[in-house]
């Protein structure tokens, strides 16, 4: 008696649980159809989702949020302007916490959702390495607004000139370290007439790459390298380094890395009586740098990609919108590239739909790769189109210098070999 009732009840419970959990999935489908119905009367409206992957929490979150909301503004613009008739774009932002494994999980999550058509991100090159393969297997476009490691698009032997593109689905709207480092070396050697450079980097993908390229170019322009060194991120005492620089007789210090360390280095350098400018890449182009370093920052230089934003009307609108909406994060560094990357995807979707009689084809993701490859429009950070490696053809760079406590553009140009 007891055993039989046990048997019956376990099976009832088991089937009950199974049926109930099957019910659990219905609510979502209902919701989707009601969403679509309410949107536009008459014409069938489809929702297309663009994934965003960036660090939204943690130490890099300010920049990561800039990427998220840059993409958000692009999508809002496309929806209000009805750039692609019959399509409502949405953003699905995932947080990779600047960790490769998390980035990869986000990539699989985006790939697994059928209404996600393409992705913008990530911020860090190290994270991109783990995501590229996932997106490429799914034939899904990934456009990074900020990855600068040349190997991501040009293969491992890019430095020796044999460039091969590892992933057809990966593009970027940011320019590579190669352009920026060379441009900086050019400016230091030719415009500033510096002869003797001390090169320091932070042993991160971005910083080490940039410093290596600067060093090579500076030497080839006839400059001397007074010394090199590498710091650890998170350190705050650079007195030993400063002593070395002081005794090396360098007339410029090039730093590859972020402002967190360089603001301390420039301060300690000048406190020790070494009044040479510190030059860096766009990772240092931030108001925090000037605020922390104070007077010591005066005369320091950075290179940054694109032309100064205040010279472009489209960029001004973007910044105004960003501020007006009160979005968190820092739009300055990569928000514009994120906007352009998202717009490139939106334009690509339009091209794919136009080729298919105004409807989204079933293999839209794969077709989008070709469409994005043919991208050609004027974005808010300059002209947007991609070369055969998926790199941006926009090689505009600007040198900024700290003058009376402000970043002032001193030279805008294009790096040409």
């Amino acid at each position: 008696m007891r055993q039989r009732s046990l048997l019956i009840l376990t099976s009832v419970l088991a089937t009950g649980a199974l049926t109930l959990s099957a019910c659990g999935s219905r609510s979502d489908d209902d919701k989707k159809s009601s969403d679509g119905g309410g949107n536009s009367a008459g014409t069938s409206s489809t929702t297309v989702v663009i994934g965003v992957d960036a660090p939204l929490t943690g130490a890099n979150s300010a920049t990561g949020l800039g990427i998220q909301y840059g993409a958000q503004i692009a999508v809002d613009d496309a929806n209000t302007k009805k750039l692609v008739p019959g399509v409502t774009f949405k953003i699905k932002a995932l947080d990779d916490k600047a960790q490769p494994a998390t980035g990869q999980q986000n990539a699989t999550a985006l790939v697994a959702e059928s209404d996600v058509i393409a992705a913008v991100g990530p911020l860090n090159s190290g994270v991109a390495q783990s995501m590229q393969q996932v997106f490429d297997s799914a034939k899904m476009v990934e456009i990074s607004p900020s990855n600068t490691n040349p190997a991501l698009t040009q293969g491992k032997d890019w430095a020796t000139g044999t460039k091969t593109r590892p992933f057809k689905s990966y593009f970027r709207t940011a320019t590579t370290d190669a352009n920026q480092g060379n441009f900086a070396a050019d400016y230091a050697a030719k415009t500033l007439n510096k002869k003797n450079a001390f090169v320091v980097d932070d042993k991160q993908t971005y910083g080490a790459g940039l410093a290596g390229i600067f060093k090579g170019k500076f030497q080839s322009l006839g400059g001397k390298i007074a010394g090199t060194d590498h710091v650890n991120t998170g350190d705050s005492d650079f007195s030993t380094l400063v002593t070395k620089i002081k005794n090396s007789g360098a007339d410029i210090l090039y730093y590859g890395g972020q402002y967190d360390e360089s603001e301390l280095i420039t301060k300690q350098l000048k406190a020790a009586g070494v009044h040479i400018p510190l030059m860096g890449g766009d990772g240092m182009y931030s108001d925090t740098y000037i605020k922390t370093a104070g007077a010591a920052a005066e005369g320091d230089l950075v290179t940054s990609v694109g032309v100064p934003v205040d010279t472009l009307p489209a960029a001004k609108t973007f910044i105004d919108t960003y501020k007006a909406k009160g979005y968190p994060g820092d739009y300055g560094t990569y928000g514009g590239y994120s906007y352009d990357a998202t717009t490139a995807i939106i334009n690509g979707v339009k091209a794919v739909m136009d080729a298919n009689g105004g409807k989204l084809p079933s293999d839209a993701r794969a077709k989008l790769i070709d469409a994005v490859q043919k991208t050609d429009f004027d974005g808010i950070a300059g002209h947007v189109s991609f070369d055969e490696f998926g790199d941006t053809t926009n090689k505009q760079l600007t040198v900024y210098q700290v003058k009376s406590g402000k970043w002032v553009a001193v030279k805008t140009g294009e790096y040409t070999g």
């Binding site: 055993q3 959990s21 999980q105 190290g126 042993k203 290596g212």
Partner: protein, 627 residues
Amino acid sequence: MTDIPLATAEAAVAGTDTGRRAAPYLPMPRTAARAATLAGAVISIASTFMSWTYTTDFPGDLTVSGYPGGLQIMTLIAAILTGVVALGAFGTPGLRWLNPSRSPNSVLLLALATLGTTWYTVIDIAAKLGGFANLDPGGFVAFIGALVLFAGALGLPIDRRPQEPAGAEYYELGRFEKYAAVVRTYVWLREARLHHSDLRVADARKLNPWLQRLVIVVVYALGLKILTFGLATDYSDIFIGYLIVVAVGFWGLGASGLLKQFQQLTHRNRRFSATVGVIAAIAYPFVQNNEHWANLGVSVLIVGTVALGLNIVVGLTGLLDLGYVAFLGVGAYAAALVSGSQFSIWSGVQFPFWAAAITGMVAACVFGVLIGAPTLRLRGDYLAIVTLGFGEIFRIVVRNLDGVSGPKITNGPNGIAQIPDLSVFGYNLGDNHSMGSFTLGRFANYYLLMLLITVIVVLVFTRAADSRIGRSWIAIREDETAATAMGINGFRVKLVAFALGASLAGLAGTVFAHVTNSVVPDPYQFSGPVPPNSAFLLAAVVLGGMGTVSGPILGAALLYVIPEKLDFLSKYELFAFGLALVLIMRFRPEGIIPNRRRQLEFHEDEELAPGNRPMGDDTVPAATAGA
């Protein structure tokens, strides 16, 4: 800690009361309490078939009348469970087995689960949509139903601690003992404590052996279903409701004695239940046929396996290793170097998987010995700081070995990218494979491979723990001086534990490298936003239960999945980890699944009645956690 030895023997003898009393929290007639309980359950069940709110804005769409959805399912399941367990407690023929201990405590706890999830839902609707005006009548019915249910359960004769003797003194209150109000509250709290762990339950081992096995299979299948259901919830709101039901409900089932009976069954059919557990884990990618969840599954298995390796060092041998993630890194880098990636310095070399796995293990083992040999001779505290230093140094060294600021080995900060997928016996793990109506994607393949490795590590762990050397580890942990006096070579035994732990991490690292396609220096740090990092691994071991098999795996799974599902909490994740470590060490140092010996050790100066042992034991198979 200090060598102020508190008389442990007297303390153990002093508090051996097994007294218990049955008294309701809310005094009311017995029939009224029973009726209220059952009525509350019925109202709650009925409410889930009504509409709770009128807009679809709330996650899960609770507007549909006729069948439950979203959070309503949670209320429904919890209410049904409460109802039937209550019937069992009241002695209804045919349902009595559902509450073997006949204790109303399980009813109370399950009612609490119902109340928790229902009220959470209702309040969440009000908070999200702005006011209780957004509730449909169904919402109010549910609200009242859960309240009636809980009130009824409070009126049942709950098994509680005996009354405190009059005039008892409470030294632990320190200077607060002067205040009568404080003492009264304290006494009230002490008397309010539930006490059901030593209730007698019928021996489940008397069942027909085949039925025993059937029960095991059904329970594992249910466990898998519950797990996949939780993973598939797509809103954090629903997941919170789910967590309330699962956590409090589990506690309630423990009070009913069902868990104890199930434990008896798995104990008796140890091999069978382990096999079923593994099968349930294998079934996971088939049941949850979604690459993202398979990816999550691999990650959980990897951190769980690494945590299990750490458990040999921390849990069995009592050595604190704070740089354990570095050994994972060593394994990952070693595997990446021989993977055939074009970024490796030996780009032509591509080892088959078994050879790569051995390479990773050996490399990690070598580093384990290099770090362990100088420090294990010293006092244990030094090991903690040396391993912490090693964990930091590892990342720095790897970053510098790029040919620019060090020998060219690891490709520096760029790491080793484009690691090709593994191929095992011609089965390429990177491709999709169709099996009947199922398609196993890349991550499902890796999940299965990692599961194999987890099983191996579990076997190594249990075999080692039961062996001569395992007993020496425990002896060393308990009292190194005494163990050495008994002829155990402390240094050698500790070194074996340390090296074995390192090798197991290295083994997991080889898979980790291939799953993520690239290895870079950054993830291998002491504390970081995502696993694996040493603090996470330590937290997993401590939360799950030191010295047990299933503890660290369960701990890793919980610590991984909960932040994943509750994404609004991810900002506070590390803070919560830190706080959790402090609180666990203070209040439940033996973890969720306690090791019997360990628990006695932690509570040696508290009362611990012979039968007073919470559920769980080191012999519980790992399946429900690993699946």
